[in-house]
């Protein structure tokens, strides 16, 4: 019923892909509960992996001759709920962060001529050597 992925041998079946994606999304959920840049970066890496896993699953499913078993369908629906939750969470996070950053930047830098918070320019790390 399930088809193995022969190309690189990493994901052998749809179930493999979906379960790995599940695991990665659960880790992302834990990571973003600690709002740090490092955790956001780690989450980004994991989500790109999930992107590949879901792409593979879609390819497997599209080329499969019969419908997947009910257990796998249930897992795919659960995965969809997880991604919906993350979309909502990141949407809320962005909304909070925008308002929050605006408030801090106004307090720190003042306003632009158009009334928005003056931007903060982050300079990449530099080094000076003789």
């Amino acid at each position: 019923m399930e088809r193995s992925l022969q190309a690189d041998g990493q994901y052998r079946s749809v179930a493999d892909c979906v379960r790995s994606a599940h695991k990665n999304l659960a880790e992302v959920k834990i990571l973003i509960s600690r709002p740090t840049r490092e955790n956001a970066d780690k989450s980004g890496d994991l989500l790109r992996e999930v992107e590949v896993q879901l792409g593979c699953a879609a390819v497997f499913l599209g080329s499969a001759p019969e419908r997947p078993d009910p257990g796998l369908v249930k897992e795919i629906h659960e995965l969809k709920r997880q991604t919906e939750f993350l979309v909502a969470l990141f949407g809320e996070t962005n909304r909070f962060l925008s308002a929050w950053a605006g408030r801090v930047l106004v307090q720190r830098n003042g306003y632009t001529e158009r009334g928005a918070a003056a931007p903060l320019f982050l300079v990449p790390r530099t080094s000076a050597e003789a």
Binding site: V18, K29, I30, I32, S33, R34, P35, T36, R37, A40, D41, S43, G44, L47, R48, V50, E51, L54, G55, A57, A58, L61, G62, R67, P68, L72, V73, I76, H77, E78, L79, K80, R81, Q82, T83, E84, F85, L86, V87, L89, F90, G91, E92, T93, N94, F96, L97, S98, W100, A101, R103, V104, L105, Q107, R108, N109, L120, L122
Partner: protein, 473 residues
């Protein structure tokens, strides 16, 4: 279904935790300039994960922890306490600087020089009414200078008494604020950053007033000990201080200003425990510097000693001389008078009954010298028999003026140094517990950028998941 609810719960907890973390940072930013505020750090706690038992894991928001560093707080309080002492001494003694001028340009020093010059002029023309009037006039200047100095010291004493009372009132008010904090802590042990900020601001203000030691109790309350010994606040109990002014029953000079003491709520004298803050500075001026000038129940006061010694030396020289040789010879009369008590400087005046012609210039000798008394008075400052503690009158006054000047100068330079030390202590504390808007701004912008990028990936993933759902439907 249980899985779905569990998953939603975990997601909801994570969202709540995140939201509270944002609230903590917002609070940090809002309170960046609040005195006594220490940065709060969000603490996220992992929830137990047990799929069989229905525990979905995730994270939740624990009590925020502030980054207050008690060592840094204590260092700031100790340095602030010392600064308070120096600033108070400087402020309290400043008004005396003009009357205790050691340069000889003003005040008692100048009046002495003018009187010696007048005696000298009179000795050259002892019967000349102008030189005689000159002596009376210059003697009047000396009396006025002593009165002004005494008046200024007394006025400083009065204002120091008022400052003592007001400082003790402020200490008692701060103790009450801390008591209220403790009561709130006993009623609810939930961390409240604003209450904490208020407490630490109050403790810092209190350390400016007195040397305190802060003890953190296990129940979250703070105890404040004055001088490390006397309880000012313990839990919900306050022991207010009082200022008392007492003259001991066996006082040698009962008419002099009383001694100021600080007593605890049981009436125990705790003055010796006050070694820091403006209260210490006030006590040092009130019970040290000022009594050394105008006296206390146990001492006459150097200004009074000088006034009395000088007046007595001039009077005894004049009364041992003669206005005329007669017959019968007419004895001299005193030039100065002063009150019966020990406040000689304040009551020193020129004898109202003396006339220019009654100045006794003749030293009967033997041998008789017609301007002998006037000459003795012109050289009074070098007559070792009249010296006080081995110093002439001018030197003795100079030593008083120098002493006052040194105290002001020392307090001024110490206050200046201590201001830097306090600034450093506050900077260290700020690094440990303060809120930096720069740090917050950079952190938030970095977070925003990172989350914005990730949220784009999440949207793509959600679309892919929808594709999978469409395929399996």
């Amino acid at each position: 279904m249980a899985d779905l609810i569990g998953s939603l719960n975990a997601a909801s907890n994570a969202l709540d935790a995140f939201q509270q973390a944002i609230t903590v940072t917002q609070n940090n930013v809002t309170n960046a300039n609040t005195p006594g505020y220490a940065k709060q750090v969000p603490v996220l706690q992992a929830l137990p994960f047990d799929q069989v038992g229905g525990q979905a894991g995730g994270s939740t928001f624990g009590a925020p922890q502030n980054t207050r560093n008690e060592f840094a707080e204590n260092a700031v309080r100790q340095q602030t306490s010392l600064l308070g002492t120096f600033q108070q001494i400087q402020t309290s003694l400043q008004p005396l600087q003009t009357v205790f001028d050691a340069t000889g340009q003003t005040g008692i020093s100048k009046a002495f020089n003018d009187l010696y010059s007048a005696f000298s002029a009179w000795s050259t023309e002892p019967t000349n009414s102008n030189t005689q009037t000159g002596v009376l006039s210059a003697a009047g200047e000396v009396a006025d200078a002593f009165q002004q100095a005494a008046s200024q010291v007394n006025s400083t004493l009065t204002s120091t008494n008022q400052d003592l009372q007001s400082t003790v009132n402020q200490i008692n008010q701060a103790a009450q604020t801390i008591q209220n904090y403790n009561i709130a802590k006993i009623q609810s042990n939930t961390p409240d950053p604003n209450l904490d900020a208020n407490l630490n601001s109050t403790l810092e203000n209190l350390s400016q007033l007195a040397n305190i030691q802060v003890v953190h109790e296990a129940n979250g309350t703070v105890g404040v000990l004055l001088g490390g010994q006397t309880p000012l606040v313990l839990g919900n109990q306050v022991d207010p201080l009082k200022v008392t002014f007492t003259v001991p029953s066996n006082a040698q000079f009962p008419g002099n200003p009383p001694v100021a003491s600080i007593v605890d709520s049981n009436g125990n004298d705790i003055t010796s425990e006050i070694s820091g803050g403006s209260l210490s500075g006030l006590l040092s001026v009130r019970n040290g510097t000022l009594p050394s000038l105008i006296g206390s129940p146990s001492q006459a006061g150097n200004l009074n000693t000088l006034a009395k010694s000088f007046a007595d030396a001039v009077n005894s020289t004049l009364t041992s001389g003669q206005i005329s040789t007669g017959p019968p010879p007419v004895a001299g009369v005193p030039l100065f008078t002063y009150g019966a008590g020990s406040n000689v400087a304040a009551s020193l005046t020129v004898n109202a009954a003396i006339t220019p012609g009654q100045l006794a210039a003749i030293d009967p000798g033997p041998p008789l010298v017609s301007n002998g008394t006037a000459l003795k008075l012109a050289n009074l400052d070098s007559n070792s028999t009249t010296f006080i503690n081995g110093l002439s009158f001018s030197q003795f006054f100079s030593s008083l003026a120098t002493d006052v000047g040194n105290q002001i100068s020392s307090a001024t330079s110490s206050a200046s140094t201590q201001t830097q030390v306090v600034a450093q202590a506050k900077a260290v504390r700020s690094q440990l517990s303060g809120v930096s808007l720069d740090e917050e701004a950079v952190r938030i912008v970095q977070l925003q950028t990172a989350f914005d990028a990730v949220s784009k990936v999440v949207t793509v993933i959600d679309q892919l998941a929808q594709t999978l759902v469409n395929i399996v439907q």
